[in-house]
């Protein structure tokens, strides 16, 4: 990397299934304002802006045009990246690149989604190739019910495993004032009462559709030294795609997740990820995905994640905290979701996560975003410069 970069401010809105109190511009302004306040700077200090969301979900076009006024980008450089579910992760990557390039010292990235203004499922249905598979698509639920069935079959995990994940995430979300679903789920039995969407996937296993936004401020090393907050250093980032034509035919694959994590760990000399990494905020749209993907990232052996879940290892106050924010299953404003992962890890590494602060001393954090036809963007953040 040409220059060291650091996250020096994070902010997010509160998330709900509907936010009729604000329009898209106001929603983003809310997150930007929070990030600027956290960084203790004025918007005029920002030198470049990165924006993104799901292009079609609000039924709007070139949304950065309207947003320019609301996020303070008028008269400034800006770039818009829209990579589907990974958008939030890509926003962070591009902000890191803009600063690392040496062209800008202070960059703001903002991601958002206001799903109730459009039709998410209609938008999602057009992901599928119109020539081959659009007629048989069922949105995200179809994919993740198949994934759940596959995981159960491969690992022998009982139906309770997904419910255990849900109970943990509910406990985490109750600690997080920003979370969308802060449910009083205390037991596996309560989760198993939830209706099936497509068996074995239950309503409570799946992420909600949320409206909300998230923003981060990224600074160069020199600039970070003069900022109010303790900088969270960016160690590395990567993105891996798995393209549609290769996943056609129903063969299940997590190769994108495996490749992204192993690339990051190899490049940064991480041998035992679960010991060396203190906190993980992973983009898993369902409880079952969370189990399988922890294995795919290499945090634990294949087929063991649900056993570890049984032992409670992934709770925020235990050995390996996973999604102490409550994760995607509790909050999912798509274009912001990946960025929320990065922001939450940054808060944990700073020690500013409040009631959801992990007990373990945070040194290294992992965040990921997932989307597309099986794409992963992953980041490695550190509390120390080296």
């Amino acid at each position: 990397m040409a220059r060291r970069t650091a996250i020096v401010g994070v902010g997010q809105t509160f998330h709900r299934s509907r936010r009729p109190d604000v329009h898209i511009g106001e929603l983003c302004a809310e997150a930007v304002k929070a990030a600027l306040e956290d960084a203790e700077i004025h918007v005029r200090d920002i030198q470049a802006f990165v924006t993104g969301n799901m292009e079609l979900f609000e039924g709007r076009y070139v949304q950065d045009m309207w947003l320019a006024d609301w996020i303070g980008a008028v008269g400034k450089p800006g770039i818009r990246v829209t990579t589907g579910g990974t958008t939030g992760g890509t926003l962070a990557s591009v902000a890191f690149e803009l600063v690392a390039s040496g062209l800008y010292d202070l960059v703001l990235a903002v991601g958002f989604e206001k799903q109730f203004e459009g039709d998410t499922r209609a938008g999602l249905k057009t992901v599928a190739d119109p020539l081959w598979i659009r007629w048989q698509t069922t949105g995200a639920i179809g994919y993740f019910s198949r994934q759940a069935r596959y995981y159960m079959k491969e690992t022998g995990a009982p139906e309770e495993a997904g419910a255990m994940v849900r109970v943990r995430l509910a406990a985490h979300a109750r600690n997080n004032p920003h979370a969308h679903l802060r449910l009083d789920l205390e037991s596996v039995e309560e989760v198993l009462k939830s209706p099936y969407l497509i068996p074995p996937l239950r309503q409570l296993d799946m992420c909600p559709t949320s409206e909300g936004a998230c923003a981060i401020v990224v600074a160069s090393e020199e600039r970070a030294a003069r900022m109010a907050r303790r900088p969270v250093w960016v160690k590395d980032w990567t993105s891996v795609h798995k393209e549609a034509i290769y996943v056609r035919g129903g063969r299940h694959s997590v190769a994108d997740l495996e490749m992204a994590a192993s690339r990051l760990f190899r490049r940064n000399g991480i041998q035992k990820p679960m010991e060396e990494i203190s906190v993980a905020e992973i983009y898993a749209p369902s409880t079952w995905a969370e189990l399988e993907w922890l294995e795919a990232y290499g945090f634990c052996e294949k087929g063991t994640a649900w056993r570890l879940e049984e032992k409670g290892v992934f709770y925020w106050n235990r050995e390996f905290p996973v999604n102490p924010s409550g994760g995607v299953v509790c909050t999912n404003p798509i274009g912001a979701t990946g960025l929320i992962r990065v922001a939450e890890v940054a808060l944990q590494l700073r020690g500013d996560a409040g009631p959801r602060q992990i007990s373990r001393k945070p040194t290294l954090g992992f965040s990921s975003a997932w989307g597309g036809s099986g794409w992963t963007v992953a980041h490695l953040l550190s509390s120390s410069k080296d």
Partner: protein
Amino acid sequence: MRVGIVSVAQTPFRAYPQWRSHELTYLAVEEALRRAGLPFREGYDEIVTCSSDHWDGKTLSDIEHGEVSGAHLGPGEEKVSMDGANAVLLGFIKILSGHAEVVLVTAACKEMDVLDPSVIENFGFDVPFQQSLGLDFTQAAALQAVRFMHRYGLKREDFAEVVVESRNRAKTNPFLSMEGDLSLEEILGADLLAYPITRLDRRPPRDGACALVLAKEDRARQLTDRPVWIKGVGSCYEPHNLGDRDLSEPQALILAAKDACVMAGIEDPARGVDLFEISEHFSYQQLLWIEGLGLCPRGRSGELLRSGKFDRTGDLPVNPSGGLLGGVPRYVAGANRVIEAFYQLRGEAGARAVESEPKVALAHGTYGPAGQHHCVILLERGF
């Protein structure tokens, strides 16, 4: 660190009713990689695609564009959903950041499949105020053209002259499909879309794709002995509310060009740059952008255009390629400007080559209503 463009490719721009947009991307990718001597999926670390879900009629249009660029379990891919010049800019940033050494950039659009672009464009305006007025980008442009005319006493003939020139030049460009001659009268008499813009004042829709391979200095020299360096970049937003802007003052272009020039160490583009490839989506924009770039005193671009100053043989050649009015798809537009500048600097522009053997060129892309966002890229011959 220097970053160079080592190879480029583009499809001819016309209607491709039997092709899908990513198939066009593949044609460009295959050729750009072949020219750089790179195998598919290997030898490049990152991919930047540029496409629009709206114009592709598909969420995540980069699934396909990434696929045909080699993204499957290979180089990382990111999609810029702006004008194509910004995809080149992001590719450049990725290399400068040290996160990639070689980047493949693609842009594609099949806009001839879209029956009524104004429906999509209308959704590009803010919900509370401008969208409900029923504005589209042509109407926003018309307001800008009228303000420009009013401020400097320009006439519709000044703009029509740009169309005549562009179409003449387009005939020398094998990538464009522009035939026949048009007289000033025919242009002025064409269907009026929104005063003063006629059907012929507007960039005609086309299908097509392009690709570029960017590399950091040492890799660039390995891949080609005739690299073109990216010397400076700049981009900028203007306010969204048309009423908040003086539409005859292209502020974002002025600031973006200033950033790019400072980075490249050029004090005055009129003296330090030999060739300009700019994005005019409407005829008046060529004149307005020329003035915004400071190539002539305000309000005089029309008269200087007639004097031949901006001709292929003039002292400040602007759009010898025929420009966007010659028919270049949106999204591809800005990336195509970079590619045309690349051809000129390498001496590969054929019949449209300028005579001065240019060393420095400026490529420009714009998108949004009345040029709300501009991107400027300065290139230099590296051999």
